[in-house]
């Protein structure tokens, strides 16, 4: 557990980077999350998350092309590293473990409650 720290938002970002595969850059990620999860993502939160995960070696980045709409500023593309993949796997595995551990009656009771 201790080895793979991954916050909820970080997990989403990491997954989205995976989805976008090779064309993942900040705005792309932001749009993807916003359209898929219909939640707004602030640039500040996104960049902080990206930087943190880069520091944790879950992501690596490289500078991309500069375009006119970016006024000559380069894009920065992100990829998941092997460690990042492991972290995702780990997160998924732990979740599933937890899911499996929930007794079925909970779900039924809940449904009945509604």
């Amino acid at each position: 557990m201790k080895d793979y720290q991954l916050g909820e938002f970080e997990e989403i970002v990491l997954l989205t980077v995976g989805i976008l595969n090779n064309v993942a850059y900040s705005i792309g990620i932001k749009d993807e999350i916003e359209s898929r999860l219909s939640r707004t993502v602030s640039m500040g939160a996104l960049h902080t998350a990206l930087k943190r995960m880069e520091d944790k070696d879950y992501l690596r980045s490289y500078a991309g092309e500069a375009t006119e709409e970016r006024v000559g500023r380069p894009r920065r593309y992100f990829e998941i590293t092997a460690l990042g993949k492991k972290a995702l796997q780990h997160a998924k595995a732990t979740r599933e473990q937890l899911w499996a551990a929930i007794p079925d009656t909970i779900w039924q009771a809940k449904l009945m409650g509604i």
Binding site: S26, G44, H47
Partner: protein, 875 residues
Amino acid sequence: MKNKKHTPPKFFLNFFRWFCHPEMSDYIEGDLMEVYDRNLKKLGKGKADWKFIIDVILLLRPGIIKPRKAYQNLNSYSMYKSYFKIGWRTLFRNKDYALMNIAGLALSITCCLLIFTLVKHHLSFDNFHENNEQIYRIVTEMHSENEHYSTGVPTPLGTLVRDNQTFSEKTARIYIHPNALITLPEEEEKIKYKEASGVTFAEPEFFNIFNFHLVEGSIESSMNALNSAIISERLAVKYFGDKNPIGKTILLENDLEISISGILKDIPDNTDFRSEIIVSFPTFKSFMPWLASDDFWSGISGNLQTYVVLNPSTPTYEAEEALTYYAQEYPINKQTKSVYKLQALSDIHFIDRFGGGVIDKNHLWILSAIGIFLLLTACVNFINLATAQALRRAKEVGVRKTMGGQRRQLFWQFMVETGIITAISIFIAIIAAYILLPNLNNLYETNLRLALFTDRSLILFIVVLGLVITFLAGFYPGYLLGGFQPITAFRQKLSQQHIGGFNLRRTLIVSQFVISQVLIISLIVVINQMRFTKNADLGFDKEAIVMVKAGDYAISKMEAVKNECYRLPGVEQVSLCNNAPASADKWETDILRGNSQEKMDFLINMKLVDANYVSTFNLDIIYGRNLIVSDTVMEILVNETLVELLGIINPNDALGSHISVNSGNMKGQIVGVIKDFHDRSFHEAISPTILASASRHYSHFAIKIDPQDIQSTLEGLRSIWQGNYQDQVYEYAFLDDRIEQFYLTENMMLSGIQMFTIIALCISCLGLYGLISFMVTQKTKEVGIRKVMGGGEIHIMWIFGKEFVLLIGLGFVIASPIGWWLMQRWLQDFAFSIQIDIWTFAIAGIGTLIIAAATVSYQVLRVAFLNPVLSLKAE
């Protein structure tokens, strides 16, 4: 920005750039721009801006804000070293610019330093006493037909205040006896000294109020004993050399024996208490019994002063109210209503109303303003020159920028260069100030020093001055240089648009010339007026007349001296009198006509003279005859003004009528009318004057001597005088020098204006030179083309010439009315003055033009005669 669409709020963009971690800022900025661009298309500018701002604010979080300095691990020492090196080289490569900049700055810094020292000195007067905020002098205002103010109060007032009033914590009376004659009777040879600072009689409390310390002896014993005094260390050495002065006796005015019982530490420069001999107050009773008397209320002397330390809880108006009781109970005289006021110690040096003020505070502020102004103009010139030079450095900037130099770095590089120039200028200015200080001391009769290493405020001033100048002068050129685009710099496309408006420079130059021309106009008017006061006919002779004060006023002795003087071959005339026709001390008195008891409503100036007076001074008797000598007033000469004031139309009718003066004590018959002469300075109108003969009032010898052999005659006079008045110190003055003294302030002002005119001219010429160099740099190519096309030198010179003729002409048009108005006001102080004529302005205008022409000629001639090949081939 290449794309005009992208204009997010500048402020927030800059804010973002400022806080963002440099590693990320490019990418995030790109994101911001992309989103902004998208929003702009979708939502319009307003909403896009708003979203941008929110984004920027949301970005302001720990992961993105740059860490403090941690990423700047560079050691920038070598960069600073390079700045200095490059700065130094640039300085040497452009020697002429550097020299001009340094000269201009050094000149104004010198003025600033001197003005600072002077202002600081005056502001520090008497500020070293304990409780100096609470010290007051009681002064007198007397209201009758004319107001009269005095630094003195009646003698007993101080004692009553001390005994009966609670508002004063300490009270001390002093009497200042100026210009004292001190004799040392115990020395083998009687030695005499005149002490201009005089002798002060002081009560012991004086030393509790003011911080003057003793080196030897005690205040208690010295200041309570009769005939006891303390003298300063300086005087002790002057009088007695190495011998112990304690117990020695000095003689005051050949009359009062005083024994020295203490030594005073030397009086500091910044106090108005100048006496170096302080005598115990009990002694004053034997020196001037009538004034020292404890019930003498009927007169005041400005020299008898009373100081109090006010109780901090008492406001001044309450104390003044308490004093009104004494004014009512003990009136000085029946007609006048007197009011006692408290004058703060800090005002004594500046306010002259009661007498004794040395300098008006406004003068100090004016001087400070001049200093600041000079500094500003020097900075402006620096900016002008530096921006003119900036073109030459465009390539350097281009290279630096291409190599990664940032605007900020280029800016600081230029600031360092400015700093070097400022430092050199300050260094030169300090040396110059050291050299000039003695002249300033002469001019203002001060004893200023530049204590560069001990005076903290001076050091601080110099440091602050350096920083301010560097910033003021370097900021704009540095900003400009740093802002060059490398590409334009390399393509030599820089033009005046890039380096600051031309009109701003012109305005600055014009204003500089306005000021220097106003100064020139003032200078000419003041010089003319001074020449007028010197050369105008005063109505009497003032050349080659020596005024000698008599040792004592016994008439028989004076007659004897007079007769001895006549034996000298160089002496032409000798007259006994109480003062010269024009004199600072005058005897003003009332006048009654005939037998009436009614005083006339004006005062007359009375001169008591012998029969030789008229011929000695070559006065002009237009009606009647000269006086016949008598011991008391019998016969009177009057001047035309008095005749007119008496209401006599035909002066002949005045002859034979009787008048009495001096409260009726002197009565006489008018025997002659003399032509008006200037009995005062030109500031004042000619007053009604009488000449009468009264031998017991004579105090001076007026001796007209042969101008051929002044030196030996003076020697002869001295020996005659010394032979007759052995106990006294011989004092003489030429009448024309005395009259010159009337215009002391004006002459002081004249030398001040002279100095500032020269400085202002220098600085404006530097400014003009800067402008012309700038223009020449701009137009070198134009001139080349013109020459190739057949333009002659004259034609080319005129291109530049018309520029400065225009500037100076404009300056002249503005300066003339200002100068005229100022000088008209100044001349109003004179009852007799010159008219400001057209020549004054002509000289000022043409003079400036010539000086300016000389200034620009080098640059203009150089460019006019330059081979066009040289200017054109460099493409």
